[in-house]
């Protein structure tokens, strides 16, 4: 319950509330007549700011930096007006035991959004510690009283690039198994993915519709290849082979290893950095950073994903246009209609749900239920 609702429930009217804060306003050196109503408004607004715990695991801080490079809302608006960021190692004023205490206090209060940036090591969870505690322990504690959990960026969602390394890096849902996790993959994330997901949650108190990799369909529901500005060149069989040739500069990047035909993202519809550009816009192949196959998930994977390495080479599974066409089905397959029970009061509504490792048959069965 926010403060305003609480005060109203206690019989405090708005007028009384303004009077109530008048003395404090005066103590702050402000004019109570002029500033009390304004502050009351601000208080009402502030009272609704959702508390956020933001954990950094095996990360590069790129997703934080990307969020802070947002426009409309800008970073100051996000940090001060939109969210109440209680714990965030890159921006919070506190250090050491002061920051630890703030984390514990927020966990005790409960009902916060938990955002996780970075993967979690599983070969030995002691490879990632904060304040002498293993990260997986901190994550489980933080998840236990969270209202919603967002795995931000490819590392937190599926292990990302570190998944190809020696630490057995995995995403959040491999560690937090008793609560739903929203995956927002990307290397880094595009700010609108996080802001949009949080806004959806605040408006509807519910998780947005997700695909089988737990990605919101609103942002990851379309195939990049279908919306690529270079699609026409693909259909005509015009492929960029030499970056020095101005004539080829807008050609399809398939031969340079572009993963676009298998990648679900809105990058081609909603560009990066205030809408100015995206990877393909500068003639760089899409690396498929929003997919679980990013970067080098090997053939050992339970659904036999080949992985997207090497990046700058056309892999055999990427088809040229014409006979045979593009084999992109089965990726990002959406399973609809399943109502998820037992998700707690915040997640009482319906959402699209699917297990990451389902094959199509299992998924179809689940959809019937």
């Amino acid at each position: 319950m926010d403060l305003t609702t609480y005060l109203i429930s206690k019989g405090v009217k708005r007028r009384d509330f303004i009077k109530l804060i008048g003395t404090t306003v005066a103590a702050l050196g402000l004019s109570p007549e002029i500033h009390s109503p304004k502050i009351a408004e601000a208080v009402e607004a502030a009272a609704k700011k959702p508390p956020v715990i933001w954990l950094h695991a095996q990360d590069c801080t790129g997703c934080t930096c990307s969020l802070l490079s947002s426009f409309d809302p800008g970073p100051a608006e996000i940090v001060l007006d939109l969210l109440s960021i209680r714990y965030h190692e890159t921006i919070m004023a506190a250090s050491g035991h002061v920051s630890e205490e703030e984390l514990h206090k927020t966990i005790e209060e409960g009902g916060y959004l938990l955002v996780v940036e970075g993967s979690i090591p599983t070969v030995d969870d002691k490879y990632m510690t904060i304040g002498g505690k293993t990260f997986s322990k901190i994550l489980k504690e933080s998840a236990s009283r969270a209202a919603a959990i967002i795995a931000l960026g490819s590392c937190a969602a599926y292990g990302g690039i570190p998944a190809a390394g020696p630490t057995g890096a995995v995403g959040v849902e491999e560690i937090v198994t008793d609560k739903p996790v929203i995956n927002l993959p990307g290397c880094p994330i595009k700010p609108n993915w996080l802001i949009g997901t949080i806004m959806h949650y605040l408006m509807f108190k519910d998780i947005p519709a997700l695909d089988e990799y737990k990605r919101p369909l609103a942002f990851y529901g379309t195939l990049l290849h279908d919306n690529c500005p270079r699609r026409g060149h693909f259909e005509r069989g015009e492929f960029l082979e030499d970056w020095n040739d101005p004539e080829q500069s807008q050609y399809c990047l398939l031969l340079k290893g572009c993963k676009g035909p298998k990648v679900y993202t809105d990058c081609a519809q909603s560009f990066w950095n205030d809408g100015v550009n995206f990877c393909i816009g500068v003639g760089a192949p899409c690396a498929g950073c929003t997919q679980p196959e990013f970067y080098a998930t090997g053939p050992q994977d339970s659904i036999n994903r080949a992985g997207f390495a090497p990046l700058y080479v056309k892999q055999d599974s990427f088809k040229l246009p014409g006979l045979g066409g593009i084999d992109a089905k089965g990726i990002g397959k959406v399973v609809t209609g399943a109502t998820v029970a037992g998700l707690g009061v915040h997640f009482g509504g319906k959402m699209v749900f699917g297990k990451k490792h389902n094959d199509e048959k299992d998924a179809a069965e689940e959809a019937k239920k």
């Binding site: 601000a42 009272a47 921006i91 904060i130 760089a284």
Partner: protein, 518 residues
């Protein structure tokens, strides 16, 4: 025996850092720097296509993104004998330049300034400036709600925190303005590089994109806005703080160190020179700048969890064999040294090699010694140098395009070589950055990175000589052990990036937490 203080996590940095200090009679007597996270990026590159290294190492760090990508490309180009076209060099300078002018003000305002401002003083602002009144109302509303996160909680403000309401309110207003400006700097970089963080345009052999005239003009307009902010706000704030409330810290040289500084050279120019010159300063002797010789670098492992057999190797021959139960070792970070000396790297090192008049005049006029405040000043001065250079590079870009030469990539050297060895050695925003690659059978056979924070946050060497940051903490005043604000001020002045410093770990051990002195 003094009192042991543990600061973990050290926040407002990149990565995960634990600092332990021993305090006696109100001053730091000894210090240890420990990184607490690792991913293993060098290991995952083994056996991969050499061209992937650019993309993967770009992700070492999302703050100084671009630097690793360039150094990595440089290493692959070097191993292959590829020749970078002039247009590609200029475009890389502009893409990276935009990232540096993003990085330096962000470090001052968002990572450091909260150690120097009493934010609550904003509520006492009595002036009539509409912009500042707006800031006051915003902060006052948050204070009234008891929801001032992430500006509080914090270490208690001390006598060096600005509590003058006018100055504090102005500083908070600039903190907010700088948030907007750093987003715009990233946008500027994305015009030429696709997106930011993690640009897409720099690949082995060149860049993938030649911007048109309209984009070049857009870039220039955005550079104008950045230049205005950096010259008239950022640099003025650094000077106002450094020569005002922080002058006692500056003159006492709090957070000094050995006086050994190293620069690899940053931003290549057309004549083979660098915008920031390479060079070596030892023992604080600014009259003698030695040439930098890459062959003098060695990585030591006495106090690192690495097998002694890997001690004292040049990075091109570098090996990573871990021994996590090694006696007395306490850090994942190796101990890189130059000619057997620990070296500080970063903006102050670059500027003491370069000695630009703006900095030397400031330092001499106010009697500022090497330390935390001097690092902020150096960062500001080198931002001014960079701005001027970026205008020159834009002219150079246009001149090159006018010649009709559109080459941006050495396509003849795109397919990886059968074998080769190469290095990419150049300055990143936080200091000297080196990538070394060995290619066999067209695949990566060995990959080693020695990054700025490895130099600065190194543990002791075989003789017990502390790393640069450890040494810089000696003598730092800590009047209240519950409130070690000076310690974090000094640490942050180095602009640590620990994700960079540790990129490899031993997968088969569980000894990590045995170093624990809580």
């Amino acid at each position: 025996m003094g009192q042991r203080i543990v600061i973990d996590p050290v926040t407002r940095i990149e990565g995960h850092l634990r600092i332990e200090v021993e305090v006696e009679n109100g001053k730091v007597k000894d210090a240890w720097a420990v990184g607490t996270m690792a991913r293993g990026l060098e290991v995952l590159l083994l056996g991969k296509d050499p061209r992937d290294a650019t993309y993967v190492t770009e992700r070492v760090c999302g703050v100084c993104a671009g630097s690793h990508g360039w150094n990595s490309s440089m290493a692959v180009e070097n191993a292959h004998g590829a020749e970078l076209p002039e247009l590609a060099r200029v475009l890389r300078n502009l893409i990276l330049g935009a990232m540096w002018i993003h990085d330096h003000p962000l470090h001052f305002y968002h990572l450091s300034a909260l150690d120097y401002i009493d934010v609550t003083a904003v509520a006492n602002y009595k002036g009539g400036d509409r912009g500042l009144l707006n800031v006051k109302e915003r902060v006052a509303a948050l204070m009234k709600m008891g929801d001032t996160a992430p500006l509080t909680p914090r270490y208690k403000p001390d006598e060096f925190c600005v509590s003058d309401p006018d100055l504090a309110t102005t500083a908070v207003a600039h903190y907010l303005k700088a948030l907007e400006m750093q987003a715009k700097a990233r946008k500027m970089s994305a015009l030429f590089s696709g997106k930011s963080p993690h640009q897409a345009s720099i690949v082995a052999g060149g860049v993938t994109f030649l911007p048109n005239v309209s984009l070049i003009q857009q870039f220039k307009s955005m550079l104008n806005e950045q230049a205005e902010f950096i010259r008239n706000t950022y640099v003025q704030d650094v000077i106002a703080f450094g020569t005002g409330p922080l002058l006692p810290l500056a003159q006492a040289g709090v957070g000094g160190g050995y006086g050994n500084f190293m620069s690899f050279g940053g931003f290549p120019l057309k004549d083979g020179e660098f915008l920031y010159k390479p060079g070596i300063v030892t023992d604080s002797n600014l009259k003698k700048i030695d040439d930098f010789d890459e062959r003098e670098i060695r990585e030591k492992v006495k106090y690192a969890w690495h097998e002694d057999s890997t001690d004292n190797l040049h990075p091109s021959q570098g090996k990573t064999v871990f021994e996590l139960d090694k006696k007395d070792a306490y850090s994942f970070v190796k101990t890189p040294q130059y000619n057997n000396m620990p070296m500080e790297v970063g903006p102050l090192a670059r500027m003491l090699v370069q000695q630009p008049k703006e900095l030397m005049d400031l330092v001499n006029k106010y009697g500022i010694k090497v330390g935390a405040v001097a690092r902020h000043a150096a960062r500001a001065v080198e931002s001014l140098m960079l701005l001027d250079a970026m205008y020159r590079w834009l002219d150079e870009l246009v001149d090159l395009i006018k010649t009709g030469d559109t080459r941006i990539h050495d396509t003849d050297h795109w397919e990886p070589p059968v074998e080769g060895e190469g290095a990419g050695i150049m300055e990143a925003p936080r200091g000297a950055l080196g990538h070394w690659i060995e290619i066999k059978d067209r695949k990566i056979a060995n990959y080693q990175m020695v990054v700025p924070s490895t130099w600065n946050f190194a543990p002791r060497d075989e003789k017990g000589t502390r790393g640069p940051v450890e040494q810089s903490l000696i003598g730092v005043p800590v009047p209240d052990p519950e409130n070690p604000i000076n310690v974090v001020r000094v640490i942050r002045s180095f602009d640590p990036c620990l994700a960079c410093a540790i990129h490899l770990i031993e997968p088969d051990s569980n000894k990590v937490l045995e170093f624990k002195i809580n």
